[in-house]
Symmetry: C2
Subunit: 203 residues, 2 copies
Amino acid sequence: MKIYELGPAPSARRVSIFLAEKGIEVERQHIDIRGGENLSEDFKAKSLNGQIPVLELDDGTTICESVAICRYFDEAYPTEYSLFGNNALEKAQVEMWQRLVELRGLLVAMQAFRNISGIYQDRENCIAEWGEESRQRLIEFIPTLDKQLAVTPYIAGNNFSIADITTVILCDFIQNLEIQIDDSLPNLQRWYQHVSERPSIKA
Amino acid sequence: MKIYELGPAPSARRVSIFLAEKGIEVERQHIDIRGGENLSEDFKAKSLNGQIPVLELDDGTTICESVAICRYFDEAYPTEYSLFGNNALEKAQVEMWQRLVELRGLLVAMQAFRNISGIYQDRENCIAEWGEESRQRLIEFIPTLDKQLAVTPYIAGNNFSIADITTVILCDFIQNLEIQIDDSLPNLQRWYQHVSERPSIKA
């Protein structure tokens, strides 16, 4: 079993934090994204979306998409406490927040960053105006997280979940967009300081 | 228990097909999206993303995001066969395909449609150039589905899953973008004709 990744990339870090929370160690192989190693036919045969991370099982089966990789480990290595939720309502609430943070947060932040910076303009059309619009929508979304954290200790409720991992990744990533978790977001700020102390996130 | 929805909207239809597959009937309440009923404070208090569908439980707890609603029913009303997969690998493969079809298909199609048509320009900035770019990326993604369906009977493998439901919704929605599942996509075409015969999808 092996994970192909670029360690500091947001989606690779999501898997790393998830595995650290579960105490699972997996062999890693570095892929040079900026150099275009993920554009090779060999890599594309492993990764349906052409992206890292990719989990390769011992029989050669490959799984891409970071959340799908996390779900594999959650199911194949069950522990008493699941980061995807532990009853029907909790699982639905984790899924809801996971999607909210991803679809209105992380993906929007990625579109903002890629379209404003043009970091991958050698391989995609960048439309700066959409980047700026995305950055604005992201700024409008972030207070939703602060409001939630005023009433619950973690993003999806009373327990730390994969939605918290996605939110940590978001909070770190938005620094690339010159957006800060400042004093106008006291609950998000407090939560961020608190979860940053977890060994999985410190690592 | 009640679902707030606009029946023909893609995300409401996903939940309807899912419930029909599971044989669950739930009370529905129509929400007038074009008229802006979802913009009211009353609705926003129920729906964190301001969108339909929203599931309201008998104790007043609400869940938005269509996949989260499906997951609630999958967990709260378990059947022998889950549309989210039935072992660790299958669950990971369903999650992977569900995400691929959603993140590279349905969401891209929505961004294309909203930005090209300007249907919600009374409530969002539309950037036609991003709409056209999204439409092009969607056209480049669709053959991935055809290629998969050349080797597996359903999107995520041997069994019908929520990833097939999302793909049906995508195939129907792209007609708004004048994209057809034509003879250049024989496997996707065959799969579409086959799954369209399911009572849940015919309804």
